[in-house]
C-alpha cells in the first residue's frame, strides 16, 4: 500500500502554499495524477494546514498597551527633558560648573584612554599562561555556550542571536587553523578567540576558533568549513534575542584526524589567545573558555576590558555625583530656618 515513489515531499507542501514556480507546479501536478501515495500525503498536509488556519485569532488583554507604556517609561524612554534650573549663585554654582567641566573635559579624555587600553594581541600572554596540571583535559570537548548564560544575555555586549558550531576533522591542526581563520575573514567575519589543545607529547591536536559572521554570511560557512577538512557536525543554537540584524557566533572546532585522547591524569596543555574587538572580548573569553586557570585569566581580562570600556561612564558618574551634591547643598541653603 505505501509504495515509496521517491518524490520530494517538500514540494507538496510548497505546492500547497503556492510557493512553487510554474514549471515546478507542472511537475508536481503531473506526478500527483498518477501517484496515489503523494495524493494522500498532499491531502494530509492540506488538512493539517487547514486545522492550523482554523484556529481563532487571539488578542492582547485590554491593559496591554498601558502596561507597555509603563514599561517603556521604566526603561527610560525619552520624555520631555526637564533641564536643571540652576539660577542661584554661590559656591554650589561654582561646584556645578566644576562638575560640568569635568564632564566636558574628562569624557573625551576617558574615551581616548579607553581606546588605548583595549588589550592587543601582545598583551594576551596573560591568558596564554600554561595552566597547572590538574584541571586538564577540559578542552577535550568543544567549548559550548551554556544555556544558563544564554538565557540572560549581557546587555552591553553586541548581542549574538545564534551560535553555530562546526566540528571539523583535519589532518594537521596547525595548517588548518589559518585556513579556518581566513574562512571567517572571507565571510566578513572576525576571529575573537583561539584555543589550542596539545596532547601529552606536546603535539597540537585541537584548535577551537571563536568568531562571528554577519548573519547572511553564515549561509556559505558550511561550504567553507568543508574546504578545511571533513565536516563531521554542524550545530545551530539560538542563543539570545538580540539586536535583530547582527551577527552569528561561529565556533570552529578543528580536531586532529586520529584524535589523541588525553591521558586520564591530564598532561595536556591548553593555550588561549584572544584577539581584537573590545566590547565583545571579555564576554567571549569568559563564555568560551573553561578550566579554572583560563577562567581566572579570563576573569581578570574581563574586568580590565570592562573598566576600559566604562571609563567614560565612570567619569560621568563622578561628575554627576558632584553635580547632585552641589544642587542638594544649594537646596538646603536656600531654605534657611526661620528663627
Amino acid at each position: 500500500m505505501s509504495e515509496r515513489c521517491g518524490f520530494q515531499s517538500e514540494d507538496l507542501s510548497a505546492y500547497l502554499d503556492g510557493e512553487l514556480s510554474e514549471a515546478e507546479v507542472q511537475v508536481v501536478e503531473a506526478h500527483l495524477s498518477d501517484c496515489e501515495c503523494c495524493r494522500r500525503s498532499l491531502e494530509a498536509l492540506r488538512r493539517t494546514r487547514a486545522l492550523v488556519l482554523s484556529l481563532p485569532s487571539t488578542s492582547p488583554p485590554p491593559e496591554f498597551r498601558e502596561d507597555l507604556r509603563e514599561a517603556l517609561r521604566a526603561a527610560g524612554a525619552p520624555k520631555h527633558s526637564r533641564g536643571v534650573r540652576s539660577r542661584g549663585g554661590g559656591w554650589h554654582r561654582g561646584l556645578a560648573l566644576v562638575a560640568a567641566s569635568i564632564l566636558v573635559v574628562l569624557l573625551p579624555m576617558a574615551a581616548l584612554v579607553s581606546t588605548m587600553m583595549v588589550p592587543t594581541e601582545d598583551q594576551f600572554p596573560l591568558l596564554a599562561a600554561d595552566p597547572p596540571p590538574g584541571e586538564m583535559g577540559i578542552m577535550e570537548t568543544a567549548p559550548e555556550i551554556s544555556t544558563e548564560e544564554a538565557a540572560d544575555p549581557p546587555r552591553d555586549v553586541e548581542e549574538i542571536v545564534a551560535s553555530e558550531t562546526y566540528i571539523i576533522r583535519v589532518d594537521d591542526v596547525e595548517i588548518a587553523t589559518p585556513q579556518a581563520r581566513s574562512a571567517l575573514l572571507d565571510g566578513g567575519g572576525e576571529v575573537l578567540g583561539l584555543t589550542r589543545t596539545y596532547d601529552a607529547a606536546g603535539y597540537l591536536n585541537k584548535a577551537v576558533l571563536v568568531g562571528d559572521l554577519p548573519r547572511d554570511a553564515i549561509l556559505e560557512m558550511g561550504e567553507r568549513a568543508q574546504q578545511i577538512g571533513i565536516l563531521v557536525e554542524r550545530r545551530r543554537e539560538e542563543t539570545s534575542y538580540g539586536d535583530p540584524g547582527t551577527r552569528t557566533e561561529v565556533i570552529l572546532s578543528l580536531e586532529k584526524m586520529e584524535h589523541v585522547v588525553p591521558p586520564a591524569d591530564g598532561d595536556e596543555l591548553v593555550r588561549a589567545e584572544a584577539l581584537r574587538r573590545p566590547g565583545a572580548l571579555g564576554e567571549r573569553i569568559r563564555r568560551s573558555f573553561s578550566g579554572s586557570w583560563t577562567r581566572f585569566g579570563a576573569g581578570v581580562a574581563t574586568a580590565l576590558v570592562w573598566i576600559a570600556g566604562h571609563l567614560p561612564h565612570l567619569a560621568f558618574a563622578v561628575g554627576a555625583i558632584i553635580l547632585v551634591f552641589a544642587v542638594s547643598r544649594r537646596g538646603t541653603r536656600s531654605a534657611p530656618p526661620k528663627k
Binding site: 488538512r47 492550523v52 482554523s54 492582547p60 514599561a71
Partner: protein, 203 residues
C-alpha cells in the same frame, strides 16, 4: 501616515509614533506569541518584551528588511527566549537530512485527519490543535505559526528565521508532517477521520 515615516519618527524618539506602530502590530505579535507559547500570560510577556526590545534597538533598524519582518524576528527570539527560561528549551538539532534510524523517513502521512471544511470545528478540536502545535519543537512551532497563522511568504519567513529559502521549504514540510502525525495520534480524531477508503477522484 505611512510606516516608514512612523518608524523614522519613532527612531528620533517620538514616543507617539512608536505607539502607533505598537497599535498596528500588537495583535499580530501577541497572537503569534500565544500560538508559540500556548498561554496568555507568557504571550503577553513575550509581546511586551518584543516591543521593548524593538524600541531600544530602533536605532539599529537599518531598513534592509521591512519593519514587520524585523519585528517578527524580535518576537520569534523573544518567544524562544521565553521557552528557554521556562526550562523547556533543549538544543534541537535543526534540519538534519531526511532520515530516521531505519534509513528513510516515513513518507506516508496519516490520512485520518478531519477535514476542517467538512466538519464544523468544535472548541475541543481547536484546543487539541493548539496543544499539538505547542508540543512541537520550538523551531517547528515557529515556522508553522509564521506561515499558517501569520501568513508570511517563504521569503519573509527566511528573513525572520535567518535561514535560506530552501530551508524554509524543507523545515515547513517537516513541521507539518510532524504536526499531522501528532494530530492523527489523538484519540479525538480517530472516529472523525476520513479513511483512505473514502477517496474521491481516481486518476
Amino acid at each position: 501616515m505611512d510606516e516608514d515615516r512612523l518608524v523614522a519618527l519613532a527612531r528620533s524618539g517620538e514616543v507617539p509614533a512608536f505607539e502607533a506602530l505598537v497599535a498596528e502590530y500588537e495583535g499580530r505579535i501577541y497572537n503569534m506569541s500565544y500560538r508559540m507559547l500556548g498561554n496568555a500570560e507568557d504571550a503577553r510577556d513575550a509581546a511586551q518584551d518584543t516591543f521593548l526590545k524593538a524600541y531600544s534597538s530602533l536605532d539599529r533598524f537599518r531598513g534592509d528588511s521591512s519593519f514587520s519582518t524585523w519585528l517578527y524576528r524580535i518576537a520569534k527570539n523573544a518567544c524562544l527566549d521565553m521557552l528557554r527560561k521556562r526550562g523547556r528549551g533543549t538544543v534541537y538539532s535543526l534540519d538534519e537530512p531526511l532520515g530516521t534510524e531505519d534509513g528513510e523517513m516515513e513518507r506516508q502521512l496519516p490520512g485520518d485527519l478531519p477535514d476542517p471544511e467538512d466538519a464544523a470545528l468544535d472548541s475541543e478540536i481547536r484546543e487539541a490543535v493548539a496543544d499539538a502545535i505547542a508540543g512541537l519543537p520550538p523551531h517547528h512551532r515557529a515556522i508553522i505559526v509564521l506561515r499558517d497563522i501569520e501568513e508570511l511568504t517563504y521569503e519573509e519567513i527566511a528573513e525572520v528565521l535567518e535561514v535560506e529559502l530552501g530551508t524554509v521549504k524543507s523545515r515547513l514540510y517537516r513541521a507539518r508532517a510532524a504536526l499531522s502525525r501528532s494530530l492523527a495520534a489523538l484519540e479525538l480524531f480517530r472516529d472523525r477521520g476520513v479513511g483512505p477508503g473514502e477517496r474521491r477522484e481516481q486518476g
